[in-house]
Amino acid sequence: MRAPAVPDPAAGDVLLAVDNVSLAFGGVRALRDVSFDIHRGEIRAIIGPNGAGKTSMLNVVNGFYQPQQGRITFKGVTRAKMRPYEAARGGIARTFQNVALFKGMTALDNIMAGRTLKMRRSFFWQLLRYGPAMAEEVEHRRRVEDIIDFLQIPHIRKIPVGKLPYGLQKRVELGRALAMEPELLLLDEPMAGMNLEEKEDMSRFIIDVNNHFGTTIALIEHDMGVVMDLSNRIVVLDHGVKIADGTPLDVQGDQAVIDAYLGVAH
């Protein structure tokens, strides 16, 4: 899916808007009245010290958590509650901090699983397999192989993912998300646990996804170098509250952000 190249993604139209979202688990207030937006075609980073509520924020966007207050507007449609599979159908894909792959299946099958939404052949054709179901399978296999080539993992595609090293698992998970051809891709710490080389590879993939496919990306990341290099705009959270919102340059110089990371009592 190629979107038209947007000259300045930060000024593009709004794909996702978060309005006054608050989320609490029992006594723990994970998010407090957070609002920001994501423009179509941009790479938006969500950063903050540990426990800031970043993953909770993604979970709300994704539909895993239902906020007590606030609204999410995606592609112009506003809703308070959504199930995760509705988010998926709407064009939101996601990766997780702790890789959420299907451990019993091969890398290829995992990524093929990402094509589920796109596969339409009915149950009865599946019973027969030879014929329309097979044709559909082959067609989607082609797309998946494109993704596998893109992520440079053809050599591991028949290996059960449980046996793969962590870095490759993360790539497979990215592949599965890409297979959904999402409009909005949520990445939860995609670089976690990676060495420098792996981070460079992953960064390149993220940039390529954004450039080639026009996919909007929301990214949680701790590595500040990566964040500053990759993102168009950044949201900073601390203890569930938004404390900064702007371009990398703005955020870098923001005193509140510096304090939050250095742990100044406030």
Partner: protein, 354 residues
């Protein structure tokens, strides 16, 4: 040496995704099928048909059904016996009240009724996570067992409470000899096993396995959990219902609900654990194992020259099965099917060790 893939290049994705991508596997299966359909009827005797082949085939079908639900989709069911009973009694009643109905349609009806009943019991609890489906299926098991023994309509008000089938025929051919029963059962099982293999290799199988491996992640790629679990349950019940009808018609001839009690449920569950969870081939292996072991154990005292009472043999059977269940769960959760696959791996390298 024999089992090499040298020279076997897949040039299309279709070839890569075939059931048996390795040529030697394809040959093997065709040979087995040929032996099953042609070779066996030439040499088998009545005992082999009625005590070994027919039970193994029918129970393998039930095992495939349970494997779809438990092995591929990760939902535990303890109601296999009850759903087999539904199939058996549905087939019995249809054949009784509409005697002109084609036998194949009777079995299809059996499967459909089992599906309906299965969905009825399963639907509420499919909305709840975890291991609660086990409870619903347990409730179904006991309720169905009770219903078939108390509601007299099911057995056509027979004073003995048993259901019995008479002469069966298909398209005018009487199915009266063990050999013919065997061939019909074989044909049905092969067709359904083929269909099952197709299902599990495609998008539906992936959907089920995704639910099994991580239902949260399955949701985020767009799978609706209820839909996935329900489809697995429906297909599974269908297979089990057909197996139940086949069991009643071709294995027992006449039966009581006791033939489909909770022990039957456990028996089929053991088959898929030992044979391999998530493997169609494993379902056959498990069925063969569970059927053949008691037969073997019964011959054992004579072979070894010692005497054991039937009770003692039954105890040994229990201990052996219990032990094997635990053994396979610890050592090889994918059961005999994986051991088979490992053996093939070794064979690929033979005569080299690695």
């Amino acid at each position: 040496m024999l089992y090499r893939e040298v020279g076997q290049y897949k040039t299309t994705y279709a070839a890569d995704q075939a059931i048996f991508p390795i040529a030697q596997d394809r040959w093997f299966v065709w040979i087995v099928v040929a032996i099953a359909f042609i070779g066996v009827p030439l040499v088998a005797n009545q005992y082999l048909y009625t005590e070994v082949l027919i039970p193994v085939l029918i129970l393998a079908l039930a095992a495939i059904g349970l494997n779809i639900l438990t092995g591929y989709c990760g939902q535990l069911s303890l109601g296999t016996g009850g759903f087999m009973a539904v199939g058996a009694y549905a087939a019995y009643n249809l054949a009784l009240r509409l005697p002109e109905t084609n036998l194949i349609l009777v079995f299809l009806f059996a499967g459909l009724m089992a599906t309906v009943v299965g969905i009825l019991f399963g639907l509420p609890s499919l909305r709840i996570k975890g291991f609660y489906l086990a409870v619903a299926t347990l409730a179904a098991q006991f309720f169905l067992e009770w219903a078939f023994s108390r509601v007299k309509w099911f057995t056509n008000y027979a004073p003995s409470g048993t259901a019995a089938v008479g002469q069966l025929d298909l398209f005018g051919f009487p199915i009266d000899t063990p050999a013919r029963r065997y061939l019909l059962v074989l044909a049905i099982v092969v067709v359904l096993a083929f269909a099952a293999t197709n299902l599990v290799r495609g998008r539906i199988g992936r959907m089920w396995m995704a639910m099994r491996d991580m239902d949260i992640a399955a949701e985020i790629i767009g799978i609706r959990p209820l839909h996935a679990k329900l489809s697995a349950f429906a297909v599974s019940s269908f297979y089990i219902g057909v197996a139940g009808a086949l069991w009643g018609f071709f294995r027992l001839g006449s039966w009581e609900p006791l033939a489909f009690d909770i022990n039957r449920s456990f028996q089929v569950l053991f088959m898929i654990i030992i044979g391999g969870l998530g493997s169609i081939f494993g379902s056959f292996l498990g069925a063969a194992f569970i059927v053949l072991t008691p037969i073997f154990l019964n011959q054992l005292p004579a072979i070894l020259g010692i005497s054991l009472s039937t009770a003692a043999i039954s105890h040994i059977e229990f201990m052996l099965f219990g032990f094997l269940i635990v053994f396979f769960l610890i050592v090889e959760p994918h059961g005999l099917a994986r051991l088979w696959a490992i053996a093939k791996e070794k064979l690929r390298l033979w005569p080299f060790p690695y």
